[in-house]
């Protein structure tokens, strides 16, 4: 029966090797995370004696900042992993021997900034992403493979 009805594979992928890679997305995402962390830090707590409306407004604003931070930290992580797994090739390791370590640490920072939400972790992420974006430009030989 199995021989008669051989099971074929139907792909439900999204992995066309389009070859379009850029570093704007990670920079933009890391910058957004940094801004949100800064805004969260600067947001004034209304205090225990504040009115209900003030408390609701505070929690609403804070929640919005957190949502955007989480979203862009995730985008940043995804895009870093795409560059790592799809773009960077073994020959790039000759130019940047600690590439794996840098990308690994940057993706870890994406998770850390989600967990902590501090300005310090967001700054570290921004710096790590800038470093990888610079490596991308260095090995690519241009600022981006396409313009928006």
């Amino acid at each position: 029966m199995n021989k008669l009805f051989k099971t074929r594979t139907a792909e439900a992928h999204c992995d066309i090797p389009c070859g379009v890679y850029e570093n704007n997305t990670i920079k933009h995402a890391a910058e957004t995370v940094f801004k949100m962390a800064t805004k969260m830090h600067d947001l004034e707590h209304p205090g225990a004696n504040a009115s209900k409306e003030e408390k609701v407004a505070y929690h609403n604003t804070l929640s919005r900042y957190v949502i955007v931070k989480e979203e862009y930290a995730h985008i940043c992580k995804e895009q870093l992993l795409i560059l790592w797994t799809d773009y960077f090739k073994p020959e790039h390791l000759d130019q940047v021997p600690d590439l794996h370590d840098k990308v690994w640490k940057a993706t870890k920072l994406c998770s850390k900034v989600k967990r902590e939400g501090t300005v310090e972790s967001a700054t570290n992420l921004k710096n790590a992403v800038k470093e990888i974006a610079d490596i991308f430009e260095q090995v690519e030989g241009s600022t981006a493979t396409y313009e928006y």
Binding site: L4, F5, K6, T7, R8, T9, A10, E11, A12, H13, C14, D15, I16
Partner: protein
């Protein structure tokens, strides 16, 4: 044989068809909107599973149910009836086996 068995790989058809799902498909079919079909990928030539979302004359626009994880007619354009190799009839669960 006009009936084929397929195993799904990838996530572009979730939640309807998850990674690893098995389906039966017929190579004799009449196409309608919302049918899930196996078509030849215009770029890679591999058999790809998508849903028909729009028809314009003899061209069919196919998309994955999970748009954010699908490469489909939004990228590679419509497919013709010749590109469609089978129409999915049903999903089945493979028999549970124990190997000793």
């Amino acid at each position: 044989m006009c009936i084929r068995r397929y195993k799904i790989t990838g996530w572009s058809m979730t939640p309807s068809l998850r990674e690893g799902a098995r389906v039966l498909a017929s190579t004799i079919f009449r196409l309608r909107l919302a049918d899930v079909v196996v078509c030849r990928h215009p770029v890679t030539g591999r058999e790809t599973i998508k849903r028909i979302v729009r028809q314009h004359e003899d061209r069919y626009y196919v998309e994955g149910d999970n748009l954010s994880m699908s490469t489909d007619s939004r990228q590679f354009g419509p497919v013709t009836e010749q590109d469609i190799v089978a129409k999915v009839l049903l999903q089945y669960r493979p028999r549970f086996r124990v190997y000793l």
